[in-house]
Point group: C2
Chain length 348, copies 2
């Protein structure tokens, strides 16, 4: 696994993105931003799930003004998502937004951008240049790949912001097509040292979207690219936060709650491993510590995996061996599997 690419740290409220900070997890609200109480409720729920940065859509002036009330009710930095109308960026900053996301595909007037940048600089509000394959500005030359054109688009905006002496910049280059997104992020990583916000855009419903997101974001993180991630799912945003952490956990980049190792079970298994793993998983929902639990169905990999976990069980015919921190603590009969596991988990 490559070391994380060295990026410039950018502060967003109380969170640092880049500069060697842990890869942060963000999401976006799906409530009507103008409805501040509902939006605050959703953000608070996401904070509970570990969301570290939240973005809200700002489609109109009323939404921009609602940021004031939303900001008061939440603890994590808030990013205003702006398209088309630069005045909404000004209004969002006036209302207390900690960050802005601008889409170079749809705010193109330099004078407008200048006004936003001047205000952002004064208030020390970072701007994310959020390029998306679905909303690129016209001008791609035939033969230029979409990924290369996404990099061109972002770099034009980077240069524009830098020419205004502004460097509180983060960049995202999202696409639904995973190889396109990877090529784009790799390209921009070679060209700038600004922190990168990763995402596979419009990844769809969770059943397929979590897989597409894990593949794309996982490949980039493994290459050391990426300072903050947002998983985009057509689902409640808590699913986005959950998925983001599972991607990070699978690469040992972040810890969050327990890890459950469980065997797929096969014709060798003599007990209901899927049922037992499900029970254990449910029980672990109340556990906050990053413990490793292994639920294994036979003597092939069972003892090895159970030994490596904090608590494990290797099930045999009618009875199983309980492991704790690498040692067998007892042998229990099938009806006691869950009780014994609970006791060992509680004692950790």
């Amino acid at each position: 696994m490559k070391k994380q690419r060295v990026s410039i740290p950018v502060r967003l409220g109380n969170v640092t993105v880049g500069g060697g900070a842990p890869v942060s997890v963000q999401s976006m609200t799906k409530t009507d931003t103008r409805d501040a109480p509902s939006t605050v409720n959703q953000i608070r729920e996401l904070e509970e799930c570990g969301c570290e940065i939240i973005r809200v859509a700002v489609p109109d002036r009323q939404a921009a003004e609602a940021i004031k009330a939303i900001r008061k009710g939440i603890s994590i930095p808030l990013v205003a998502d702006i398209h088309f109308d630069y005045r909404l960026a000004l209004a969002a900053m006036a209302a207390g937004a900690d960050g802005l996301r601008l889409n170079p595909g749809n705010i193109r007037d330099k004078e407008h951008i200048k006004k936003v940048v001047y205000e952002a600089k004064t208030r020390e509000v970072p701007i994310r240049i959020g390029v998306n394959s679905g909303s690129l500005p016209p001008g791609k030359k035939p033969g230029r790949s979409i990924a290369a054109y996404m990099v061109d688009t972002a770099m034009l905006q980077v240069n524009l912001l830098e020419s205004m002496n502004f460097d509180l910049i983060k960049i995202a280059l999202k696409a639904f097509d995973v190889p396109t997104a990877i090529e784009a992020y790799r390209g921009i990583a070679r060209k700038t040292a600004y922190p990168l916000h990763l995402g596979i855009t419009e990844a769809g419903l969770p059943r397929t979207g979590v897989i597409r997101s894990a593949t794309g974001i996982g490949i980039l993180l493994y290459e050391g690219i990426g300072d903050t991630i947002r998983v985009s799912l057509s689902a409640h945003p808590r699913e986005e936060v959950f998925t983001a952490y599972e991607i990070l956990k699978s690469l040992n980049l972040r810890e969050r709650g327990p890890v459950l190792i469980s065997c797929p079970s096969c014709g060798r298994s003599e007990s209901d491993i899927v049922g037992l793993a499900t029970q254990v998983s449910n029980y672990l929902q109340s556990v906050k510590k990053p413990v490793k639990i292994a639920v294994m169905g036979c003597v092939v990999n069972g003892p090895g995996e159970a030994k490596a976990a904090d608590v494990g069980i290797a099930c045999g015919k009618g009875k199983g061996a309980i492991f704790k921190k690498g040692k067998v603590t007892r042998s229990v009969s099938e009806s006691d599997y869950m009780r014994a596991l609970k006791a060992e988990i509680d004692s950790l």
Copy 2:
């Protein structure tokens, strides 16, 4: 994305693994192998889902003998999973197994391996050397990483088989820990040209296991490593096959059925995108063609994504634009979204 590593093709029944063949999808039955009718039923269901190679556990002689009846009822090659007892490998081949999986961690007597290899050579039955981090043989030197020791273990077995003039070899080096698995597969890919079977072992329940599997398998495939994959989930094996295809689809390595692009929706969306995407997804279950459908919630990325899909909708306030093959075909009101999409999908 790197070109697929050049590997030696190995034929397994009617499927070629390696040598530039498409990355094949496999799974393992969870029925009692001795119960041939149930096992055949499960394999037939998996064939319907696109499973291309099936493995069954062979824990005893009765299971080995059941392969005869199972083999008759199915159309895809069958691999016998053997641990501890080499005689079960001989019995499985006699019963018609198309392939063997041996675990070098638990069959160590050279004379036993010799007998299996002699029989496999006579019958042209490939052997997968299936190393698993949970069942490594003793002997790892302190300081040697688990991944390096997994490679050592596999190479010892490769050399042993080659010394018996046997080369119908596939190799797997599975671990739950994603960086360990990647390091192991990278290591073996540098040392041999045999085809590689990828997997993240004991990945757990689907909610977390599909994410861990997609990260690990996705990273390797993107590096051009991997000729066949098996996703290990504590769930019905159809979930394993589904996940395997979604990983391959996300990297454009295989096609299978439709792809649904749908936006996460946000405070900008004026309609129920999650509900509409879910309805479309349900409708697409009966569609076999690899069509791309986009369900988008607003004018930011909506028209761009909908234009790039075979059929798409970009929803606005109370009405949406329907796209087909890059062109708007009509504008429909909200109550007609689903009807219009169905009509366009049917007409593809």
